[in-house]
Symmetry: C2
Subunit: 159 residues, 2 copies
């Protein structure tokens, strides 16, 4: 998994905590965590394509969350950045070579693939159960000054 997932998740939490529903320039978002602006912009575009953020054009434009942080799960963000493909892809090697034999001998789905997909489902379910709002809420509780600091930084670009 690329570093873009960490960037995108922090970005969504930053917008939830300090975006105040207004567009923040990509460069300002990148600078908050000292991220390379061009590469980070690619992640923002991916989030926009997935409908997680909205790209607002123009000199006062930028990015804002497309929906309430309660409705943005970790799974949404991971799929936006990494794509929808499962980590394990069955190539059905059991159907190749002498091991393939008579297809009628073992007509069912590959049991190895089933087990791997079951594990991936557990991973996806755990990610789908956590939202950007969960993280933002926990930050507000344990570090009450952080949201104000993020808000100040993100808003400074609008003066």
């Amino acid at each position: 998994m690329g570093e873009g997932v960490e960037w995108a998740l922090h970005c969504c939490v930053d917008l939830a905590l300090g975006g105040a529903g207004r567009a923040v320039p990509a460069a300002r978002l990148a600078a908050y965590h000292d991220l390379p602006p061009v590469y980070f912009n690619k992640q923002l575009q991916a989030l926009a394509r997935a409908g997680i953020v909205v790209s607002v054009p123009g000199p006062r434009g930028g990015f804002r969350l497309a929906r309430p942080p309660e409705q943005i799960t970790f799974m949404d963000v991971v799929v936006a950045i990494e794509g929808p493909d499962p980590a394990f892809r069955c190539a059905e090697i059991r159907r190749r070579g002498p091991g393939a034999g008579d297809p009628a001998a073992d007509p069912g789905p590959c049991l190895i693939d089933e087990a791997m997909r079951g594990a991936e489902l557990a991973w996806r379910s755990a990610l789908a159960a956590r939202t950007v709002a969960d993280i933002a809420g926990a930050v507000r509780e344990r570090a009450p000054d952080v949201p104000e600091r993020i808000r100040g930084w993100l808003a400074a670009s609008r003066t």
Copy 2:
């Protein structure tokens, strides 16, 4: 995840079903699913380093399972082939740039990293709960002729 995981899992199941506790040449194991022998041999070496198979040297040598298939989990095989690193690696970007602020402001562990590690744990737990013996047993039940066919193929190399 590379294709080596699928190869290694099928290989372990093949050995469990048809290896009869004796060493099978790598080339014979590869040919059963029409796999490229040199690259497949790398996966076998990785399984040997992880203590999942034993490499038996000599003209009648090859590979056999190092322990009962009940004691070989999917997690063991995935770690042997892919390494122990988690899919998500937190680079602590929250500690970089103006977002880092006063470390005292948010001294706890990164909540995003915690959520990602929780999901990975769910994945690993699911993989650790499935063994090579589970798959071998299910194959024996639903396709009773398959084990005999594998046994015949793997044993042919010993004549």
